[in-house]
Symmetry: C2
Subunit: 157 residues, 2 copies
């Protein structure tokens, strides 16, 4: 089994796209994160939902949550305020984790090795310069635990 | 809106429970992670799927994925080998991230503040010593973006 047979669709957003639209997608689809691509479609990074939550809370309230009451505006107002006119690039953390990237002919052990080294819960599967899908850590575990004959897959092996 | 109205069910496993059963649950339900509780039901930590992937790959292969080919056994054999007879405790990383814990009467801003400070994508909601549910970062964003009148919630406000 190679990476191209393990890959699944995963929502991606452009790094120059609208921050509000990206966060709305995260929220409405209840996603743990989005894959962020450059304008050519090359995956750059992950925007985790937890990072967006960080952006919404001032650092003095993060340090002392009992100060949360001093924020007089609603969360909806804070979201609008913090995201209006921004691009996805502005939401990415400075210390954004490196996204695991694998080739479409890598084996399951190779994919696991790259994910493990980067402690990354997602790997982007590339065919040359083109991203053909993503593999999540839980998908990899599912495939690792399932005997090939009964494996859930839409593609022949 | 308080934390008890935001909380949802989330799969938990006991820290002394069987590692194989926990990983099977992660894999079959395609979860990004599990909440790990002590025998009294108090949440201790999160076991991310990416941490389980780390356990399956020897460190020399993590450092050089091109060595993956030297592993002669299948991933299924590796899983069985690494998990047999172990408890969930043995799978937790030494540097396991602190789990965000909030009270059931905390506000949405207080929950966001705790998640943001700990960079944790999940918060356990406690009523005294009892865990009544979890709030994910994407659930929090969903609630933050939704006007109260149209908010998806099974409980009256």
């Amino acid at each position: 089994m190679h990476a191209n047979e393990m890959a699944e669709d995963f929502p991606v957003v452009g790094v120059e796209s609208d921050a509000w639209a990206a966060v709305t997608q995260l929220a409405e689809r209840r996603l743990p994160g989005l894959v962020v691509c450059d304008p050519a479609g090359k995956p750059l990074s992950i925007l985790p939902a937890s990072q967006v939550v960080r952006i919404l809370v001032p650092s003095y309230v993060q340090d002392d949550p009992s100060l949360a009451g001093v924020l007089s505006e609603s969360m909806a107002d804070r979201v609008a305020d913090k995201l209006r006119g921004k691009t996805v690039r502005a939401l990415l953390p400075n210390d954004a984790p490196e996204l695991a990237v694998v080739n479409d002919d890598d084996t399951i052990v190779e994919v696991a090795a790259v994910m493990a080294r980067l402690r990354c819960p997602l790997a982007a599967v590339m065919r040359g310069e083109e991203m053909v899908g993503m593999i999540t850590a839980s998908r990899l575990l599912q495939l690792a635990l399932t005997p090939p004959a009964t494996r859930p897959s839409s593609r022949p092996e």
